[in-house]
Amino acid sequence: MAKEQLMDYQKALETYEVVIGLEVHVELNTNTKMFCGCANVFGDEPNTNVCPNCLGFPGAMPAVNGKAIENSIKIGLALDCEIAATGRFARKNYFYPDLAKNFQTSQYDEPIAFEGKIDIEGPSGKVFTVDIERAHMEEDAGKLTHVGGSTGRIQGAEYSLVDFNRAGVPLVEIVTKPIYGAGDEAPELAAAYVRSIREIVKNLGVSDARMERGNVRCDANVSIRPKGQEKLGTRTETKNVNSLRSIEKAVKYEIQRQAHLLSQGTAIIQETRHWHEDRGATSSGRPKSDADDYRYFPEPDLVPIQPSKEWIEQLRATLPEKPAIRRKRLQELWGFSELEFRDVVNSDLLDEIDDTVKAGATPQAARKWWTGEIARIANSEDKEISEMPITPKQVAEIAGLIDSGKLTDRLAREVLTGVLAGEGDPAEIVSKRGLEVVSDDGALLEAIDKVLAEQPDVLEKIREGKLQAAGAVIGAVMKAMGGSADAARVRELVIQRASGE
């Protein structure tokens, strides 16, 4: 495929105004699917959580999962939406092998929630209010695996294999209104928005919210128009961008691609596009269908949903605090600087640090471990920090062992490596690997005396007030003790020796 030409990003922003719109699909973590009692589980053997309903057998009758409705209303409320007095399901007709019924049960003109808003902080700290157009319920489709061809992708595949375990899993699709005025922050704002949605649904407890499993998926609509032009440009919709980093990159790519085309006098085609993480580019998918082509009509097999005011208020009372408010509270509680706090937010570590602090660590220790050593290891293994096999409780335990003087920083890092290698909890690893700090002064003095015997002039220098001379002794002692000594205590003992105690 020919590589597409891009306009320089800054130049594109000088000439064009960027308008974005985001569609986020959230998979709910109910026990069962949306319209049948099959289990909603990730990673089971293919086609083992299926029934006549999700396989689209003739005559199968859907039955709405009440819990999924409840969770959808909660999402709507958390996004400051109105909840529809009457909501209805509709059939969205299209033919594709991942959808056995040949229609997706969705909502069309009567979504469960509409007209909401959410405050999102851009990278510069500027707050954007993103208007939510609607949040509607629908079902997920099956999973396709494309076999053959050169790339493993849909293009050029010889055949495809379908697993319907995911077909019928409850989804809530959240659609924003067009977002204007984000300028050069548009890519980061898009990612920050998805991060907030993920945070909301996770805190609500309605979704596992793991992007790497597709629990939260984003379609990014991007259009540009010459500055000063009223009429919106033609938009493209980049599908299923599955990490926060990719969202940012995909939006930026589309801005640059479209700017190049427009500058050449070429019209933008309204189409869906696919994001390719490997080559950092989008490619053309199918032309975007019009709503008419889906021939929506009310689902005759399901009756309308009319949540009572009492029910809605009952659910509203259970909502956790909003992300923006929670952030403000945590920043004050933890006493982090602006920079430290933004680093935590941008690294997606709010929950981890919150839980680590709740498990007994100081906020600074929690921050240091998560944004430092753990992030470094995750990065070197090319993993998300959330995928690392360590719990906030374990991090708090390591921090506690340092505070009580049982571990030095260096030993603690070794314990961390042990936890990540699945050797158990920190205390177990300390005893198994024999990592505890030597707090026995006798053993330390023995090592110190040995070193001092080799460097007799050191004591004299210390007596003359050249305390930095102790450094060489401390280093040698630490080395002799295999690092399992508290350097501060060694320093005290060396100085005591020099003063003749």
């Binding site: 026990n31 999924a68 009457t86 594709y96 055949y159 495809s160 399901l302 009319q306």
Partner: protein, 98 residues
Amino acid sequence: MSEITPELVRHLAGLARIEVTDAEVAQFASQLAVIVDSVATVKAAVGSEIQATSHPIPMSNVFREDVVRPSLTQKQALSGAADSDSGRFKVSAILDED
């Protein structure tokens, strides 16, 4: 008479994933026109005071408990499939090489 163009018939056939010959396009165009006209006649008869109805019985909020029920086995699920592979339904290629 409604104007059902050959292009519209081909578009519909494309959405429904069916191949149509030119003769069929002409035939379906005239048949579809009759259907559309019939619906238009009914529409004209309905006054503005009548609400659109999707369900004849005024019922709402029929919900199922979120409790797992037994599913089919993989073997049962695939028993009616034209072809399968590794526990999955096998279908022909979806897109041509771009």
